[in-house]
Amino acid sequence: MEEQQGISLPQLTNEIVKNARKTRLDSFAVALEGWRRGLKLKWYTKDSEHFQDMIIFGVNPPGRLFSLSSEERTHYFFRTRGDKVQNSAVEIGSEKDDTKEVLLEKGVPVPLGKGFEAESTDEEIIKYSKKLDYPLVLKPTNASLGNGVVTNIQDDEGFLKALEYVRQDLGYGEVIVEQFVKGEEYRVYVIEDEVIAAYNRKPANITGDGVHTIEELIALKNRERRKNARLNSCLIDIDIEVLEFIESFGYTLESVPAKGKQIYLRQKTNVSSGGDPIDVTDSISDEVKQIAIDAVKAIPGLLHAGVDIIINENRNIDAEGLVIEINPTAQIGGILYPLEGEARDIPKAIVDYYFPETKGFDTSKSKIYFDLVEVLEPLENRTALEVEVAPAPQENLSMRKFTVIGNVQKYSYHQWLKKKAFEIGVHGSIQNNVFDEIEIIVAAEKSEQLYEFKEQIKNCPQHATVNSIKEEMHNEPITIGFEITEKFKATNPKSVNYTHRRMEKDLINKERYLNRVNKDIQHIYNSRSWKATEPLRKVKDKLKR
């Protein structure tokens, strides 16, 4: 299967976001953007007083609550949603029924439908469903991520089945019945009067190659998704829904679809259930964009949100598109890492919006980041209530990799170098390579600092000797601070694992080296001159005795 990847943002490489999964990716992308611009970044646990008045959910483990501050002010964020968004707007947005009511009132096109309380009987719901034309959708009132949404219900029998599934099997009492609108579905991200990004979400799908079975094709597709920073946590699961869905088209997992034949695996388009994000920002019509903007405007105090719009194909309602959902805490991973098209910089737009004075600060070339897992560790272990990330260097970084050979593997030498790094004000890391070699990566705001540090490497104290320094350009992203990555920390399981792996490597290398030395010795033993001089040595030994 050919590789299919869109263009992602240069400042958010897979390496940088590798520890930010799912909704943490949203937070991390926004936080990183603000931090790189020189704003103060703090992370919090849910126990922090700053979030007592904000609607938050699913905040454990930490990494979803943070604040950015300039000299003048601080804004608090829950994922992509900042404190400009009012709680009342979040409440309206999280209840699909309320959303629709408000939108209808303000003249924003929505599919017709109605919500039902948990107390409502199935009969009431069925009775209402008769008023609407099929196809219909039945979904829980307040479930996110598309759980329990049954679409494209064609007839009374299907409706009864769906009703039982959602209300009995899944236990969602409160449900919405509405017209099913067929058409492409877009997630449009709006900040006030502007559409920042739009992406289309194709349901989970595979394309046949005439060789592999559907099951194998899904596995292949998942392999591709693993490479994508956003999608690697949203693989396609083969569940009962998929089985039933493909069955309805006459396939089984063992079917081998023809080459080029695209097969959808579900109705649901959510990225988290295997859907494909595709950038469509430049191709959607202005009418659709306007509908999205109107929808955000319709809800007082919302200001920025993701709007789910369905393109109205069957035109039973007179509008270009219909708003089906509004997400005040929208996930943006899909549009940061689309499978097709170009990534759109929503984090930039959000930070511009909250801190307009930092607008124009270009972070696209930034190579500096912080290790999210390391930074959040005190919060994760609940040994801290809040942490502030050390400030990001503001200048463009010059980076070098120094490979230093000599008696340089002593920890005390590395610590000494680290002290020097802080004195000079550079970032970087020291890593032990095999034998007598270390690798030092240094990033500095001014090139003089690099030279100064290089001088210091040679200027080592007595307990180390440097034989040679190799200097290379370095262009990989680097984390803030200065780290020595060799010390075995028994309290940290990651470090234990890491050290274990390193030791295994070391062992292999040492074995190789041992063999080499052994060979050298053999070489000497076998050399003619050694053999020839054998009698001499024997005589010498005898003499010694």
């Binding site: 005190p378 040994t383 801290a384 209530l385 502030e388 601070g481 062992l507 074995e511 030395v517 050694w530």
Partner: protein
């Protein structure tokens, strides 16, 4: 050995290893504030000198103090400037009739000028730098002008010190007292590095044992006395060498210098100072406007009763007060928090909760690596029905999964404590939390198929807040051994090669090999 000291019970087991040594002062004050329910956060500050120093803030509502080591930011800048300058200190103290040695700053280093300016002082004299720190450049017991000029030249030329104080030498012992407000909270003096004989063991052995104890004491952690030339000289003076066996109870001095970092031992001396001296110490701190607190260096001679205040340190280390090897520790942290947060006096959350303490590894790791700029401690747990327990169990479950399972429960039920892998498949949990929740958690453990032999017992040691996983079982020790064994083999072989290469027969045949190489080419 009889225990001759009495340390603070609240610090027993609540100071994590990472905070041992110099950091004890910081940790103990932060800890005192924290266990009273105050909010504590740490910040990193780098000096140009590359020295790392945490700042920490303690706050209660709007009242927020930022501490540098042991000094809060309410101590005025002017007061600090005065204390740094030893001559100014003398002047301010003398002004308020505090006993100080006579002395002056040399305005010129010209010999005749010096003679003129100090003619009102009698030998013996002391010289020291105007703004020195610690004992650097302090030379005492100067008996004549020659010695004086020699030492002034030494300071000037070798130590590059140009502002020099000359003052009269006062007979007596050096004491360091901690003063805050109207009180002397504690005072200690130092014994020079020494061992005490038992009539059986050699000095070498006695010192080894002493060092073993020293490294376990938070205050003297990592400050071993090593046998060096200085020690050998000192022993020789007393007709000993390192293998001599001193008689029981005999005090054998190892070095002349007695600062604690080079192996001296602090002993509590609060009772040795009479009331009038203590009054003068309090007065000394009061004499400097805006000072509020300080570590006051005083010389006191028991036989004559004479004393003189030498200098005041605005951010003294308090670890010697907390860990004397003889006598009683004095609760300096308590006095500091009482003074600045009087509304919290007498509050101690751990009276009704299990004893908690907080982690310091993050100050060391995250702040030291310049990854974090600051972090705030979680509040000291405080609610009814908190208990602590030890739970032991056996499980073959993967460590990562087990850890995740336990961690999740800890998060959910707001437990604090540790999961320890003790031996292969053997675990131990120390836990503090709501008694019902803990019981429920234990039931949950028991109900898991992959967990067996769950044993519960009371636990009274302090509990670290948050969740920590410790791998005490070094499963990788085999790997370590293998690696070091390979290292050894390589070293051996390398030696063999050099030996061979150095051997005459190899050297003799060198031309032959060269020839061969040429032919091969």
């Amino acid at each position: 050995m009889k225990k001759e000291y009495e340390w603070l019970p609240e610090l027993n087991g609540t100071i994590p290893n990472e905070a041992f040594g110099y950091a004890v002062s910081v940790y103990s004050i932060a800890y005192e504030a924290w266990r009273r329910g105050l909010t504590v956060s740490f910040k990193n500050i780098y000096h140009r000198s590359g020295k790392f120093e945490p700042r920490y803030s303690i706050s209660s509502g709007d009242n927020k103090l930022v501490f540098t080591h042991t000094r809060p930011n309410v101590v005025s800048k002017e007061a600090i400037d005065i204390c740094v300058n030893k001559q100014k200190t003398r002047e301010f103290l003398a002004e308020k009739n505090v006993n100080v040695p006579q002395g002056l700053v040399l305005s010129s280093l010209n010999e005749s000028e010096i003679k003129k300016s100090i003619n009102h002082l009698d030998f013996p004299l002391v010289i020291k730098p105007l703004d020195g720190k610690g004992g650097r450049g302090v030379i005492t017991g100067i008996d004549d002008f020659k010695e004086l000029f020699d030492n002034i030249n030494y300071l000037k030329n070798d130590l590059n010190i140009n502002e020099i104080i000359v003052e009269e030498y006062i007979e007596g012992e050096d004491y360091r007292a901690f003063v805050i407000g109207d009180k002397v909270i504690g005072a200690f003096r130092r014994l020079p590095p020494h061992v005490i004989g038992d009539g059986k063991n050699s000095i070498k052995e006695l010192l080894k044992r002493k060092n073993q104890i020293r490294v376990k004491i938070p205050g003297t952690y990592n400050m071993k006395v090593t046998i060096n030339e200085e020690v050998k000289r000192e022993l020789a003076k007393q007709d000993y060498n390192i293998n001599s066996i001193p008689s029981e109870g005999e005090f054998v001095r190892l070095k002349t210098k007695n600062n604690v970092s080079s192996g001296g031992d602090p002993i509590d001396a609060t009772q040795e100072l009479p009331e009038d001296v203590k009054k003068d110490l309090v007065q000394a701190v009061k004499s400097v406007p805006g000072l509020l607190q300080g570590g006051v260096d005083v010389i006191y001679d028991k036989s004559t009763g004479r004393h003189a205040v030498l200098e005041i340190n605005t951010r003294p280390s308090i670890r010697n007060h907390l860990y004397p090897i003889k006598g009683k520790a004095h609760p300096i942290p308590r006095a500091i928090i009482d003074y600045y947060f009087p509304e919290t006096t007498g509050i101690d959350y751990s009276e009704t909760t299990p004893r908690y303490y907080f982690d310091y590894v993050f100050v060391k790791e995250h702040i030291l690596n310049n990854r974090l700029k600051s972090f705030t401690l979680p509040d000291h747990p405080y609610e009814p029905n908190l208990i602590s327990r030890k739970i032991e169990f056996y499980s073959k479950q993967e460590i990562d999964k087990l850890q995740k399972f336990v961690r999740r429960r800890f998060h959910k039920m707001l437990f604090n404590g540790e999961l320890n892998l003790v031996k292969k498949n053997r675990y131990e949990i120390t836990i503090a939390g709501n008694s019902q929740d803990v019981a429920y958690f234990i039931d949950q453990l028991k109900s898991k198929k992959y967990i067996s032999k769950v044993k519960e017992s009371p636990y009274t040691k302090p509990i670290r807040v948050g969740f920590t996983f410790n791998d005490h079982y070094i499963g990788d020790s085999k790997m370590l051994k293998k690696v070091s064994q390979k290292d050894k083999e390589i070293r051996k072989l390398k030696k063999e090669i050099t030996k061979m290469k150095d051997s005459k027969s190899w050297k003799l045949t060198a031309p032959l090999r060269k020839l061969k190489n040429k032919i091969n080419k």
